[in-house]
């Protein structure tokens, strides 16, 4: 949590959401050392302290949750259980990183569940006859293409993202059912299970993929020209256009990315279950959106970060893990998650109003 202490220094907190400390990046963003201007008066410090309470509200919640989980359920922080928590939620997390890109660019994607399910079917089918690597690349490319369709609908045809992806969800989902003839595609080829069940140096491959997607996504969003441009497009599309950014291209690219992420996640789940199924994606879109929103990425675009999505994902995953291992009714879990989603968005709205 050295990022947090860095953010506590005056001057460094302002860059907050736009220059997020990335999970896995070393040290504080460059805003820290060079930036310490004169502003150190008490009023400012008090304000930035209460800003911190809001800005990092979900981080505090996560810390509390971990403590509570360990208290109710002593084996919680064991490596074995941690592997469980992460591997079970790897697919949601992978999709959620792509969703973070889309939402920061001011968009929204409801079709990721259908893309995810469709790619699981394609991957299972392709890997029956092709080398696994090639099957993977093809499946992910199909996911990205589906994302491109969404992006073009939203940018070129100017269809509202909610409606566009609601429609394509139905199209993609239906197509996956047609392709698989509404039946699961079993794949027991040796090696097919590696992506979902294999281990490298004792760590499940799915978790490595998840970590890789988060780190790359975080770095791209916070450190590259592309990421910065995406924040600008989501923050004020008109200003970005007048500054000379290719707004349509940037927005489209975010949909392509989330499509590719859903493709990767689809491959992971197919490998894990050793079956490709067109009916597995019903909840993943909303779960991924929940992780992004709980983390505090704004629904209005322009604000948010990949590390925030990591926090949101962990909150959802821990609640799920604890209620499963304690034998809670699944509906209790859903009630708790719902409260947290609404609470997170309410907190965001409150902080937004207070800033005015």
């Amino acid at each position: 949590m050295s990022d947090l202490t860095a953010a506590l220094r005056p001057g460094a907190s302002t860059g907050g959401d736009a220059l997020p400390p990335t999970a896995g990046s070393s040290g504080a963003p460059a805003g820290g050392p060079a930036g310490g201007p004169a502003g150190g008066d008490t009023a400012k410090r008090r304000r930035s302290f209460s800003d911190l309470a809001f800005k990092y509200g979900m981080v505090w919640l996560l810390v509390l949750l971990v403590g509570w989980a360990e208290w109710t359920y002593p084996g919680f922080t064991s490596w074995g259980n941690m592997q469980n928590v992460l591997a079970q939620n790897a697919t949601i997390g992978i999709v959620a990183v792509g969703m973070t890109f889309v939402m920061i660019s001011g968009g929204f994607d409801l079709s990721v569940g259908a893309i995810y399910a469709g790619c699981s079917v394609f991957f299972a089918q392709f890997a029956l006859s092709l080398p696994m690597e090639l099957a993977f690349v093809l499946a992910v490319a199909i996911g990205a293409t589906a994302g491109l369709v969404n992006g073009l609908l939203v940018t070129a045809l100017k269809v509202n993202p909610f409606v566009a992806t609601l429609g394509t969800a139905s199209v993609f989902g239906g197509a996956a059912f047609l392709y698989s003839d509404s039946s699961p595609i079993l794949n027991n080829e040796p090696g097919f299970e590696w992506l979902g069940m294999g281990k490298v140096a004792g760590v499940p491959v799915a978790i490595l993929v998840l970590a890789l997607v988060f780190v790359i996504g975080g770095l791209v969003l916070s450190r590259t020209v592309y990421g910065r441009s995406l924040y600008a497009v989501g923050g004020n599309a008109e200003a970005a256009r007048l500054a000379g950014l290719p707004v349509g291209l940037l927005k489209t690219s975010a949909y392509v990315l989330v499509g590719a992420c859903a493709g990767v996640a689809g491959c992971v789940i197919a490998s894990r279950l050793q079956v490709g199924q067109a009916d597995i994606g019903s909840t993943i879109a909303l779960d991924a959106i929940a992780a992004v929103v709980i983390g505090g990425t704004s629904l209005f675009g322009g604000e948010g970060a990949v590390w925030r999505t990591a926090v949101g994902l962990l909150i959802i995953a821990i609640i799920r893990n604890v209620s499963q291992s304690r034998g809670f009714d699944i509906n209790v879990e859903s009630v708790i998650t719902g409260f947290i989603i609404v609470g997170a968005v309410a907190l965001d709205a409150y902080a937004r109003n207070r800033r005015r």
Binding site: G11, A12, T14, G15, D17, A18, L19, P29, A30, G31, A34, G35, P37, A38, G39, R223, T224, V225, Y226, G227, R228, S229, Y231, A232, G235, N236, E238, A239, A240, R241, L242, A243, G244, L245, P246, G302, E303, R355
Partner: protein, 551 residues
């Protein structure tokens, strides 16, 4: 307040007053928009309010309609006090206002729009028949017929305006305000509107209208009130006015007023600031030598526009801007100035025209990126809506125009971003210690400096500045104008649109004047031979199509 020099209003006698105001005033922050207005609108007349942009006429309309709350004063409608700052109270008193931005709901039918605020109902259900009957009555009264079942968005602007008038009459309005009613209308539609206004006057309706078209004012109104700098300067029957005397009164040339002083202080501030290190550091070869001389002697043409057409706002506009030159576009609101800038910046796909850069013809820009490739950048009028990403830090906003310049292999270096933004921003008088702050927290002046620094970072060849000093305090205004002059001195071609004509007169080397979508005058500005005051007058005479006979 008690302005000693305010001419005594002399309303047309004998008839009752529809509206009488007492010391109405309104300030916005430190700026006085309207001071101490006592005006009488006689019942059953057409009363015109005229004045330059920002003279206060629209503010007065807004106050009387209850849309703007005055900071001082009261008014009566037909002898009864009306509580101020309440659109409902104004409406109840019989006032209806028709603004330039019509309040028609495009998806509804013509009839539904007329009765949107007062639908007829029976037992809680809409009474279509009663509404249709009333609609026909109103149509007959106006002598016009807008098809009641037409969807409003399919109607012409003139027809939509008629719906607003019908709405006002349905509410039994006794006084109707029109804010620039003829601006969006074609010639025959204007005539129809005037005929309608005369009819309404016969029927005893009182009308107040704001217009820049002085010929119209003289032909339709019974009384004219002239505003200047937020004060009422004269209010007399129309028969005592001529076009010339109206313009003179708007300019304050007959009465010796503070215009010259205002202009003089601006010049001082500008030149004073230009000596300070406000001018961007980069290649300032010409900055020290007299910039005006350089600008006029540079012969190579920079940007040339021929026959620019934008439907509804530009009708064959031609002009040129050389590198190193700062050119103003003069004119009144609605003359088509901003539309020229928007078209050049690639924001208007309907624009047709020919564009030469350095003598070479290039396709007309169809997007902002194309315009930028030609080296043309826009400083937009709406800083918050179109300029800044408010949640981003100041330095990010500056470098947004060219993030690649602060990145290696497309990875942004925060160190280089800070340095580049700092270098650019410092050149525009922006406090570099505030580079980390979100743009949202900055004042209007500082936000404008950021946008200038953004283009300073990318260095386009031509900068289109649309109202760059609007809503900015006086000191920052002078700095921003000096900066634009500095950019021109460094070889950039700057095109300035400003409603403050003094700014154009004091900071530009040439001005072309637009009116009704056309260029009506194109002349150099030479303050050595002609004063700021006279230059402003020249621009306005051209804009109003007055042949100057005044010396």
């Amino acid at each position: 307040m008690g302005a000693p020099e305010a001419s005594a209003p002399t309303p047309s006698p004998t008839r009752a007053a529809a509206i009488r105001t007492h010391g109405i005033g309104r300030t916005f922050g430190a700026a006085v928009a309207l001071a101490d207005i006592d005006v009488t609108i006689t019942a059953g007349t057409v009363h015109a309010l005229v004045g330059q942009n920002g003279a206060g006429k629209s503010t007065l309309l807004g106050i009387l309609a209850g849309r703007i709350e005055p900071t001082s004063g009261t008014f009566e409608v037909f002898g009864e006090h009306v509580s101020i700052g309440s659109p409902r109270a104004a409406r109840a008193a019989g006032i209806a206002a028709i603004y330039q931005e019509l309040t028609i709901i495009p998806q509804l039918t013509a009839m539904a729009n007329v009765f949107v605020a007062r639908p007829r109902s029976r037992a809680g259900l809409l009474d279509e028949r009663a509404m249709r009957r009333r609609y026909d009555e109103l149509s007959a009264r106006l002598g016009v017929h807008v098809p009641p079942d037409a969807i409003a968005r399919d109607l012409s602007v003139a027809q939509q305006q008629l719906l607003e008038i019908m709405r006002a009459l349905d509410a039994e309005a006794r006084v109707i305000f029109f804010d620039e009613p003829t601006a969006p209308l074609g010639p025959s539609e204007r005539e129809a509107l005037f005929a309608l206004m005369r009819d309404l006057r016969e029927q005893g309706v009182t009308m107040v209208f704001v217009s820049h078209a002085l010929d119209e004012v003289l032909s339709i109104s019974d009384d004219v009130t002239v505003f200047r700098d937020g004060r009422l300067r004269a209010s007399r029957p129309t028969s005592t006015w001529t076009k010339q005397s109206l313009v003179d009164e708007m300019l304050g040339r007959s009465a010796e007023i503070a215009l010259a002083e205002v202009a003089a202080t601006t010049v001082e501030a500008v030149t004073g600031a230009a000596d300070a290190p406000l001018v961007p550091a980069a290649p300032r070869r010409a900055a020290d030598a007299a910039p005006r001389a350089v600008a006029t002697s540079t012969a190579e043409p920079g940007l040339r526009v021929r026959d620019l057409f934008v439907s509804g706002s530009s009708e064959g506009v031609s002009f040129e801007v050389r590198g190193g030159e700062m050119v103003g576009i003069g004119g009144l609101v609605g003359a088509g100035r901003s539309s020229v800038l928007r078209a050049l910046a690639g924001l208007d796909r309907r624009a047709r025209g020919e564009l030469w850069i350095d003598g070479r013809q290039v396709p007309w820009p169809r997007s902002v990126r194309q315009a930028l490739r030609h080296g043309i950048a826009l400083l937009p009028e709406d800083r918050k809506g179109q300029g800044l990403v408010l949640g981003m830090s100041a330095m990010e906003n500056v470098t947004l125009s060219d993030l690649g310049a602060v990145a290696t292999a497309s990875v942004v270096s925060m160190r280089r971003m800070r340095r580049a933004a700092g270098e650019s921003a410092a050149g525009y008088g922006f406090d570099v210690r505030r580079l980390d702050e979100p743009a949202r927290n900055l004042s209007g002046g500082n936000q404008q400096k950021l946008l200038l620094a953004r283009w300073g970072h990318r260095r386009p060849r031509f900068l289109l500045a649309d109202e760059p000093t609007r809503g900015i305090d006086v000191g920052a205004k002078a700095e921003i104008l000096a900066t634009l002059q500095g950019l021109a001195a460094d070889g950039m071609g700057v095109l300035l649109v400003s409603s403050e004509l003094e700014e154009v007169a004091t900071s530009c080397t040439r001005v072309f004047v637009m009116s009704g979508g056309r260029v009506v005058a194109d002349q150099p500005i030479d303050l050595a031979t002609r004063s700021v005051e006279d230059t402003v007058a020249d621009i306005l005479y051209a804009a109003f199509h007055v042949e100057e006979t005044h010396v």
